[in-house]
């Protein structure tokens, strides 16, 4: 900013120039004179010439001498602008005195002059107009009368009611109305402002940078896209000047969509509950507290040359039998891993089952169309010989009935090898399973086209029954109830429970699985697990529901075998991913308490061969040990 224009100093300057005949007014204006401290001059006069400072400044001593000697010292003032001393005249001193007293500067001004009225207060005898008074000023108004009569009529008719007396009761109001989000006031408080529209960007510009303009291909793509899929709802366009911009054709559309957005998308404040996600996980006991359960691989039983499909432990826990695709059945000593016996059979062994009765030493083996009952001659000699006696003590009944299978007693060389009875079935047998007492045994021949799928054999009487008249689907596996006369039949998707005495269907369990592979019954008899090829394990509580109590999806691949432990609250499942998962499955006697299922250990050890991992699992009858057989030709013991 420019410095203020130099203004002529009032009074003094004029006085000075008049007095000295020479104009030395400083033209620098109202600026701090310290700015000129270091210069020889102090400003500029009207002609633009420098005003020089007096050559010698007065010092303190000069000042003092001047004060003592000069009688006019008291009326001398220093002018900073010109750096000169000025002696005030008598008039000037007088003016200063007057101003100090608060009087007018002009001596001749009289502030108390007498006042003169410009208007008379006397009443004149002549009026301003001569017009006579109106008649209406003497008579009552008709219009008013009409209005009054109308009001009176209205009051009479009851159209106008007297004013209600004011309520004297105190007024209450809901102090917390704003707190309730459902009340109107509460909603006012919870008001969520509408979200702002996005501000226009470069692509909305009438002259966007070239990178925002679509190329020809992009434009074609844009045109072919659905309106919802487009990234931009319009095509950026370039105009040479603002004047050339046409009207925005989508304006109504855009407003309408905005209104729809505001109207149809409810806005509400989300009440976020602060919950620690850890708290939502159900409290399960630590696996450490649930011991004993198998944790490490201890023994590997080697000897088979092809995949081991099935294993079964003897009721005493001393022996293990395994059946393999190399057409052999092997008997192992559990605690050393020694193969005690190898028996060749005429086909790939599909299933083996050791008779659960400790007083009988029999092993059922099935391959192709045959179920073979073997006496392995292991264990107590007494039991072995009494088993042989039991088989030879059979006397054929008088009337020979036609049976579905042919029973043949082995003799000679085969007898020495351990074969006792051969049951030749009409179809390929997939599974054999013993009843808990050890006299009955069931065999499964999966075939979707006939009702001859499940057979129940009685060994002591060499009798065979077909319990089912109808075909209810492809049977996968069967099992006897450990205590009661129930029979479990698993088809592809359902498990049916039959009462063998009443000969009726008791229950039908929906597994929600695509294809059941295996099944095991809890030794208590009230629970059941089903493994399926779609990687699931379903636990059923038979007292609770026909739907699974729990679905476990721990395996990555199809389950092949499931097993319960006889004494310990454990169950295990083996799958094609080569792992055995051991779970703690506690069943309580209290009917109100649901079973406690905790996965405790993943046991790995089997190699995956031809996409097959573990094929069968079974528990040791007395110890918390689990055996698993795999496609890698080994059986492994985990303890």
């Amino acid at each position: 900013p420019l410095p203020p224009l130099p203004r002529p100093h009032p009074a003094k300057g004029i006085h000075k120039c008049r007095k000295m005949g020479q104009d030395i007014r400083n033209t620098v204006g109202n600026v701090p004179m310290e700015w000129y401290q270091d210069y020889p001059h102090i400003g500029y006069n009207l002609d633009g010439k420098k005003i020089f400072k007096p050559i010698r400044n007065k010092d303190e001593l000069d000042e003092f001498l001047d004060k003592m000697e000069n009688p006019d010292y008291w009326r001398t003032v220093h002018d900073k602008m010109t750096a000169s001393d000025i002696r005030l005249t008598d008039e000037q001193v007088d003016l200063v005195h007057r101003l100090q007293k608060g009087q007018f500067g002009d001596v001749n001004f009289n502030e108390y002059e007498p006042s003169v009225d410009f208007f008379t207060n006397e009443v004149m005898i002549h009026p301003v107009t001569n017009r006579p008074q109106d008649k209406r000023s003497f008579i009552p108004s008709l219009i008013e009368k009409e209005k009054v009569s109308k009001l009176v009529h209205a009051i009479k008719m009851g159209w106008i009611k007297p004013r209600k007396p004011k309520e004297t009761t105190p007024q209450y109001y809901d102090l917390w109305a704003k707190e309730d989000p459902n009340a109107i006031l509460g909603r006012h408080k919870m008001h969520v402002p509408a979200p702002k529209m996005r501000l226009p960007g470069h692509e909305e510009s009438y002259n966007p940078p070239p990178e925002y303009l679509l190329t020809e291909e992009e434009r074609l793509v844009w045109e072919q896209q659905d309106a919802e899929d487009r990234k931009l709802p319009f095509l950026p366009q370039k105009h040479s000047c603002l004047r050339a911009v046409p009207a925005f054709s989508r304006f109504i559309h855009e407003r309408f969509e905005r209104c729809l957005d505001l109207y149809l998308c409810p806005r509400q404040r989300k009440m976020r509950v602060n919950v620690n996600p850890e708290d939502l996980i159900p409290k399960l006991p630590k696996p450490k507290d649930l011991q004993p359960f198998p944790t490490t691989m201890s023994l590997v039983y080697r000897g088979h040359t092809s995949l081991v499909r099935c294993i079964s432990a003897s009721p005493t826990g001393q022996w293990l039998v395994s059946g393999s695709d190399d057409f052999t059945v092997r008997f192992w000593e559990v605690n050393t891993g020694r193969c005690m016996k190898t028996l060749e059979v005429g086909g790939a062994v599909k299933s083996v089952a050791w008779n659960p009765n400790p007083a009988v030493c029999l092993v059922a083996v099935c391959f192709e169309h045959t179920v073979l009952l073997l006496n392995p001659s292991l264990g107590d000699r007494l039991v072995v010989s009494s088993t042989d006696q039991l088989i030879t003590a059979y006397e054929p009944p008088e009337e020979d009935k036609e049976q579905a299978v042919t029973w043949a007693l082995s003799e000679g060389l085969e007898h020495n090898k351990g074969h006792r009875l051969t049951l030749t079935h009409p179809k390929a047998v997939k599974q054999v399973v013993w009843h808990g007492k050890g006299d009955y045994l069931s065999s499964v021949m999966p075939d979707n086209s006939s009702n001859l799928q499940v057979l129940i054999h009685q060994v002591s009487k060499r009798r065979t029954q077909n319990p089912f008249r109808k075909n209810k689907g492809l049977v996968q596996c069967v099992s006897f109830h450990p205590l009661r006369p129930y029979f479990f039949v698993a088809t592809q998707r359902y498990v049916r429970v039959y009462n063998l005495i009443k000969q009726e269907l008791t229950k039908k369990l929906m597994t929600n699985c695509k294809w059941i592979s295996s099944m095991a019954i809890h030794p208590g008899g009230d629970n059941l697990i089903c493994g399926s090829y779609d990687c699931r394990l379903a636990w059923f509580d038979l007292d609770l529901s026909t739907k699974p109590y729990k679905m476990l999806r721990h395996h990555k691949k199809a389950l092949r075998g499931v097993a319960y432990h006889r004494n310990y609250p454990l169950f295990a499942s083996g799958a094609d991913d080569g792992s055995v998962i051991v779970c703690h499955g506690m069943v309580y006697n209290d009917l109100l308490q649901n079973p406690l299922i905790v996965p405790v250990k993943v046991l790995k050890g089997h190699q995956i061969t031809h996409d097959l991992g573990v094929l069968d699992v079974t528990f040791h009858p007395t110890q918390p040990w689990v055996f698993s057989s795999g496609a890698d030709t080994t059986i492994r013991l985990f303890t």
């Binding site: 001393q318 005690m340 264990g379 107590d380 007494l382 010989s385």
Partner: protein, 408 residues
């Protein structure tokens, strides 16, 4: 680096050094200490050759640096530390390899002969040089355990127990190399897995899979004992087996809930048995009652007792060797567990002449020599076996262990 005042001493006069305190760096380990002792011995005796030593501080083997060990044991570093040193045991090389055709289930050595039982249904007698002297054949099934009973000059009595539920008492004349089955002990209803002869050499005890322990007389007599046969047993089987006179048990001890895996005599009146029901039981041989029960958490495979230190060592189906005090009344108290194996411990045996040493065999193919003063690491591993180790035994002071040799 801090220094420690130490004083070295040893029982072995051959390697003794002056009884003066030495200043040793606190961080020194076994190798450095060993070098120090070797230097001292060289200074004393010019013809001294380098020897590896092991060091004991207050009865514990030194396995880390000296300062760490003393910190762990809570020994003050202000005082002069007394360090005992002994010659280090180095892993022995197998002297003899006795080739069996089949797995060996048991081994028992005495001062001259070694008796082995095998899965090929025979037992064998070997000389200490590894020469097969005699094959004891008579069982119809796998021989599970063997034991020497007594030696009167050239004739000795020996026992073999088998999976065929019998125990045979044999008389063997080592000069004429004649073997004769004297008695066939019947009565078990399961495979006889373990036998033990008592200290008087007149009785023996057997443990079986049928959960029973039976005490039998080990004296060979001529007269036939009265046999109470259960009527269901086939008569003809007895007649075909001409395996000496049938003998019945003097006493049956029942109480175990699972198979008996190992049995031994603590003294002439006390029997100790280990079982698959996770217990070790001490029995009174006179009355046949259980005196004490030691409860573990795993199946016991084998136990061994040392009269020198009066400790019981057990090998079980986890990786640990555990030491027990059989006299403690409160039962389930493990004194020490020795952990280094990676498989089931199938056999343990105390050294007959050394109160701290025991040897253990495991399914991880290793045999380890332990010292109870060093519970973290064994003194050495013997890794000569190529398959599972099933049993071990000592001869005099050397260890002898047998294993499963699959058909050489």
């Amino acid at each position: 680096m801090s220094q420690l005042q130490t004083r070295f001493f040893t029982d072995n006069k051959k390697y003794s050094v002056d009884d003066v305190p030495f200043s040793i760096p606190a961080a020194s380990e076994v190798q450095e200490l060993s070098n120090v002792i070797n230097k001292l011995l060289e200074a004393k005796n010019g013809s001294h050759s380098q020897i590896e030593f092991d060091f004991l501080v207050r009865g514990q083997f030194l396995r880390t640096s000296l300062s760490n060990h003393m910190e762990a044991e809570g020994i003050s570093t202000e005082d002069v530390v007394e360090i005992e040193y002994v010659e280090r045991f180095t892993a022995p090389q197998p002297e003899e390899c006795m080739m069996h055709d089949d797995w060996i289930s048991s081994v028992e050595a005495d001062s001259e002969w070694i008796l082995t039982g095998s899965y090929d249904k025979t037992a064998r007698i070997w000389s200490l040089e590894g020469k097969a002297v005699m094959t004891v054949a008579g069982h119809t099934d796998v021989v599970k355990d063997v034991a020497w009973v007594r030696r009167d000059g050239l004739t000795s009595l020996l026992l073999t127990a088998s999976l065929d539920q019998t125990i045979l008492l044999w008389e063997w004349n080592s000069e004429r190399n004649k073997l004769k089955a004297r008695h066939c002990c019947r009565g078990h209803a399961g495979s006889v897995d373990t036998i033990a002869t008592d200290h008087t050499r007149t009785k023996f005890c057997s443990g079986s899979w049928d959960k029973m322990l039976k005490i039998w007389s080990a004296v060979a007599t001529e007269e036939e004992e009265e046999v109470e046969e259960p009527p269901s047993r086939p008569r003809k089987k007895q007649k075909t087996e001409q395996l000496g006179l049938t003998r019945t048990p003097l006493m049956t001890l029942s109480g175990h809930n699972e198979a008996v895996s190992s049995v031994l005599w603590l003294d002439s009146e006390e029997i100790c048995s280990a079982s698959w029901d996770h217990t070790i039981r001490l029995w009174d041989a006179e009355t046949g009652s259980v005196k004490t029960t030691l409860t573990g958490s795993k199946v016991f495979n084998h136990i061994s007792y040392s009269p020198l230190c009066r400790r019981l060592a057990s090998g079980s189906t986890d990786r640990h060797v555990r030491l027990w005090d059989p006299r403690s009344k409160d039962g389930s108290l493990v004194l020490l567990s020795l952990t280094s194996h990676s498989g089931w411990v199938t056999a343990v045996k105390w050294a007959p002449s050394h109160e701290h040493q025991l040897v253990s065999g495991s399914l991880d193919n290793l045999v380890k020599l332990w010292d109870t003063r060093s519970c973290k690491t064994p003194l050495y591993d013997v890794s000569a076996h190529e398959d599972k180790v099933l049993c071990v035994d000592w001869t005099d002071s050397r260890v002898r262990h047998q294993h499963t040799s699959s058909l050489y």
